[in-house]
Every structure is written in structure tokens, then in C-alpha cells.
Symmetry: C2
Subunit: 264 residues, 2 copies
């Protein structure tokens, strides 16, 4: 390794309420020591964000939340700069679903893509447009020829091997052809799926529905959380993995952390 080389470990995790998950998150940070943790579904107003739990472990944290629903936050133990909350800067509509920061001169876009409810629901159309809107947002600000990360809960399983029952689930908002196409369009801006760079197996899931009893044992999972890197950054990705440990411990989220490491 060169003297000035630096490894950056980044994690994305839909925590399903940052406040109720604090002990689980603390165990994760202590054990895994990611440089950056991108969280989704924090479900907390910015005024009530538990900053102290993160600073006590040496992390700065930036957030864009609202009451009850959604909410994204990014914690970093290396210096971090705020780029944007929501698509149109501070206080924008839907700010609680997009948070862009810069770490080590790399823009990190943390997103919680709308779930879409049902392909017949108008909120599904909103989901499809959300992906298009993100591609435009990226295009106006960045180029895929430079280092950039897009991570988060995308609410899309890209391929058949990313769900446990591809036939049955083709009408699910997270596996409907239109959703997969919308995700692929934005990924097509210039992203590489870091997990798939290093893992070819099926049944690699980051989400198990709470309501589906024994879904973990039955392997009824979904791979809907992703770490997407532009090509110049993807080249530096040395590893990517799903960390199942928080699921085995106390008070797990329905999502599991996804990690990637980059040799900068």
C-alpha cells in the first residue's frame, strides 16, 4: 500500500427510526467502524435528532428529516460538508428523501426513494418520476466521469436474483418492471452497483418484511438497498458486503446494513 493511500468504508442502512434504533446503531458503529454511515427512515424532525449518540462515538452527522415519516441522515468520522437537502436546496419539497454531502472531495448522495405503495396507485407514478428527477439533478451538477456515490434505500430490487420469488412479485412496487426500468435509467447515468462488483450469488438480501413471519429463516428477502459508484470510483472499490450482525442482535431494523470499501 502506498504511504498516502486511504481506505474509506461506507455503509447504508434503513434504520426504521433512528431514535428507537440508537443502541443497535451504536453497537454497529463500534464493531464495524465505518467512515461514513448513510441512514434512511430516521423518522425524526431535525430538532429532535439524537446528535449526541453519534458525536460520542466520534461522528459528525447531517440530517434532513420530518415528523413521523421518511428522513435521511449521514454520519461521518472524517470531515463532511453539506451539499444539499432535497432536490432544490435547503427547505425544499421532499427534503426528507435526499441528502447530499461531500467527504474526501467525493459527493455522497443518500436517498430514500418513495416506496410507491401499489403500481395502480398514483404514488407509484411519483416514484418513477423521482428516479427521473434524480438523474436530472445529477446531470445539472455532476459528471459520471468523476467520483461520486449514490447510496440508500432505492425500493427497487434490480434483477430476478434480487428477490425470493420473482414470478409472484412482478406486481410489487419494488419489483414491478416499470420500477426496475426507472431505477436502471438513473443507474444508467453512469453508475456501477458496487455489491454486484464483488458478489454474484443470489439470495443476497438487505430487507426482510416484518409482517412476513419467519421471513429470514424462509429466505423471503429483497435486495433493495444499494451503493452505486461512478466508474472512476467503482474501480477503487475493493469489497462490498451485507452485514447480517445487526439482524441477529437486539431490536433489529427490517433492513440490514450494506457496506463497501474504497481504496482512494
Amino acid at each position: 500500500m502506498m504511504a498516502n493511500s486511504l481506505t474509506m468504508k461506507i455503509a447504508t442502512w434503513n434504520v426504521n427510526s433512528v431514535r428507537s434504533r440508537i443502541p443497535t446503531i451504536e453497537r454497529f458503529l463500534k464493531r464495524v467502524e465505518p467512515d461514513v454511515l448513510c441512514m434512511q427512515e430516521t423518522k425524526v424532525r431535525d430538532d429532535d435528532f439524537p446528535v449526541e449518540a453519534f458525536s460520542a462515538l466520534g461522528y459528525e452527522v447531517l440530517f434532513a428529516g420530518e415528523k413521523s415519516y421518511s428522513g435521511v441522515a449521514t454520519a461521518s468520522r472524517i470531515p463532511m460538508k453539506l451539499i444539499a437537502r432535497g432536490f432544490d436546496g435547503d427547505g425544499a419539497e421532499d427534503a426528507a428523501r435526499l441528502l447530499a454531502v461531500e467527504v474526501q472531495r467525493i459527493p455522497i448522495v443518500n436517498s430514500y426513494v418513495p416506496q410507491g405503495r401499489d403500481p395502480k396507485d398514483e404514488r407509484f407514478q411519483y416514484k418513477l418520476r423521482w428516479f427521473a428527477r434524480l438523474r436530472e439533478w445529477l446531470d445539472e451538477r455532476y459528471t459520471p466521469r468523476k467520483r461520486l456515490l449514490w447510496v440508500g434505500d432505492m425500493n427497487v430490487a434490480p434483477e430476478e436474483r434480487d428477490v425470493h420469488a420473482p414470478q409472484r412479485l412482478s406486481n410489487h412496487p419494488d419489483f414491478h418492471p416499470d420500477a426496475r426500468r426507472a431505477f436502471a435509467e438513473t443507474a444508467g447515468w453512469g453508475f456501477v452497483d458496487c455489491f454486484r462488483l464483488h458478489n454474484d450469488e443470489d439470495q443476497q438480501y438487505t430487507f426482510y418484511d416484518y409482517r412476513d413471519t419467519k421471513s429470514v429463516e424462509k429466505k423471503h428477502g429483497w435486495r433493495v438497498d444499494h451503493i452505486m459508484a461512478t466508474k472512476p470510483l467503482a474501480k477503487l472499490c475493493s469489497a462490498a458486503w451485507i452485514d447480517i450482525q445487526p439482524r441477529l442482535g437486539e431490536n433489529p431494523s427490517d433492513h440490514t446494513p450494506l457496506l463497501a470499501e474504497f481504496d482512494l
Copy 2:
């Protein structure tokens, strides 16, 4: 001690939801090993009562509950017989505030006296009548010349030394002169306050209001939980004390267990 002598340790505790308090109750039972534990504010329908948690520790348990509010239950590690739920037997009105059992041929009346809200409220009159009704209920069935116990959350601090601010609290439903008189009337049927048999100090409290922040440190307490014995039984009372340990542990109730020991 005689060969056939038996010590009976009895506890009363407003647990403020038996289900959310199970771990705290388990620690209490293991550490203190009472023979009988009378609980109030169990806040659970009989169908949902967590019987298993008690049987696992060697206790039978009888209960008279309703959804959300009130509810009384008595656990015993020595054989116990059901006498009555509510004033008029099974399925009676207000059954969730009175449970009578018999242990070692001693009737034990476990009661959760209505709080009364405010002396101006009509529910305060109901509280006063409740005490009168209990005295009648006792008179119809028992005699103070025999062994009997009346325990529970009486929602009355009998004397000035039993509250932290007697002047200020004289209009509180738990210290209003009418409430104190109503309690004294029923106690006058033939009861001795077992705690006062063995403790003369003031500031001996069994309740600290959750809403009064730092009430414990400020000693803003109330002695509203009582173990009352008829004279022939009071003679056998060898000790009575408040167990503050559950308050120092995890997930405490706003009430603290009160205990008494009898050498039968």
C-alpha cells in the same frame, strides 16, 4: 421459633401495567421472594394476563382486569383460593378494582381505590362511596375479630407526615380531608396500619408522580399504598418496610413495593 411456625411475607405494588413491568417484577420476585404479591393497575384483560411469567417462578396468579385501565392481580407461591372479583362476585361492576383471595385461611382483599380526579369532580364522590361500600362488603362477610388483610393502592395518604407538602396538597384527591376521612372510616372497621406499627418516621413514601420531574430527588412523595391487618393478625406482624430497590433498577413503576411479614 416453634416447629410449626410459618412466616408469611406479603407485598403490595401498583405495577402500572403488568405486561410492560414483567422484567422488573421478575427481578423483584427472585430477590425478595414474597409469599404473596398483590398488584394494582395491571391494565390488562384477563385473557391477556401474562400467567406464564409468574408460573415460571413458582407462583399461581388470580386476576380481575379490564382493557387499558385499573386491574388487580394476586400472585401466591402458597395455595390460594379465589373469594371474589369485585364487590358482588364474578363479573360484577368495578370488578377490576377488588380481588379477594384466601391464603393460609386468611382472606386477603386486594384493592385499587378510585383516584377521584378532583374533589370537585363527581368521580371524587364515587371514591368516597367506594370506601363506604368496601366497609359494608367486609361487614357482610367478615369480622374484625378474625384474621384478615386489606392491601393495595388506597389513593389516600392518611396523615400529614405521609405527604411531602401537607399544606399545599389539601385539595388533592389523595389528601383531601374527605378522602382521608373516608379511608379512616373503612380502616375504623378494625384495621391496623402495619407499616406504622414498625415505622414512625416521616418521608416514607410509596409513590412519586412521574409528571413531577426529579420528584424522587426532591422527596416529593406520597404514602398511598397500605397493608392493613385486623388486630389478631396485626399482633403477628413482625416487620413492615418499603422496598426501594425496584425504583433504582430498570423500568420502575411510579409506585414502590410495600411489604409486611407475619409470624403465623
